[in-house]
């Protein structure tokens, strides 16, 4: 129990946020929205890590969240640079048009 809230509620909340992010990745065609749903999934996992870290009194969980945030920031920078290059070449960020590797 964390302050009177059972850990199962945090598990449930994190699972629901993760699923919403996953559905967003699958159901949208706009690359930027897909990117944002990936960030949502990362945040769901962060929330769960902090919850368990508080439950067990172990600081390793929160340190891990710190590193996940650093990696997410780096990933967003590089990913958006790639998206900008794609937009410059193809003039669109529709994922259905980015299938040059097919066939």
């Amino acid at each position: 129990m964390i302050n009177g809230i059972s850990i199962n509620y945090y598990l449930l909340l994190s699972a629901v946020l993760f699923i919403i992010g996953a559905v967003g990745v699958m159901a949208r065609r706009n690359s930027i929205i897909i990117f944002m749903c990936i960030e949502l999934m990362l945040n769901a996992v962060n929330l769960l890590l902090v919850a368990f870290s508080t439950l067990h009194g172990d600081a390793s969980g929160q340190v891990f969240v710190f590193f996940v945030m650093a990696v997410a920031a780096a990933e967003v920078a590089v990913g958006l640079a790639i998206l900008s290059m794609i937009y410059r070449n193809v003039k669109s960020i529709d994922t259905d048009l980015l299938s040059n590797l097919k066939n």
């Binding site: 129990m1 302050n3 992010g21 949208r28 944002m36 009194g57 710190f66 960020i93």
Partner: protein, 170 residues
């Protein structure tokens, strides 16, 4: 008050808002609206961190995510002029299948919680591992090497992003 403590009220309100804003991120047409709803979701999650007394992470979360990453997203969206709803949508079949797949994943995840029992580690009261001082002690003693490697990672990402995004000099 009404049979629930203030912490439980806070948890319920923050969770409801976070899930609602996350759904709006996925289902809104305009990408700018999606970005703004995502910022609101991040604020709700930072509120959750505060409820668990992870003070450092709450502030870092707001500064890094809402302050830097979302600003990057907004820049890119404004650069590509995605203000209007110009994007084509996936077919209805794809969306329904995505919904069904998400529903099945949720079913599995929630079902895996069913057999778990309440963990009896009662850490009632605010835990002190989330303060800057205690977290800093752990970060700089046990996790010093990953910390330095993370700084190299950020440097590499910065160089990589600049090299990828450069215009070619004709």
């Amino acid at each position: 008050m009404l049979g629930y403590t203030i912490t439980q009220w806070l948890f319920g309100i923050l969770s409801f808002l976070a899930i609602m804003f996350a759904l709006m991120v996925v289902f809104s047409r305009n990408p700018v609206n999606s970005v703004l709803y995502l910022v609101l979701t991040f604020f709700c999650i930072a509120g959750h961190y505060l409820v668990m007394n992870a003070q450092f992470l709450a502030i870092v979360h707001i500064v890094v995510y809402a302050g830097a990453i979302m600003v990057l997203f907004l820049f890119v969206i404004m650069l590509m002029n995605l203000n209007q709803d110009t994007e084509p949508q996936k077919t209805w079949v794809s969306k329904i299948i995505a919904g069904i797949a998400g529903g099945m994943m949720l079913f599995v995840l929630v079902g895996s919680l069913k057999g778990t029992e309440q963990l009896n580690l009662s850490s009632y009261g605010a835990s002190q591992i989330g303060t800057v001082k205690n977290l800093g002690k752990v970060l700089f003693s046990d996790f010093l090497f990953p910390f330095e490697v993370a700084s190299i990672l950020l440097l590499a990402a910065m160089v990589g992003a600049i090299m990828i995004g450069k215009k070619e000099i004709k």
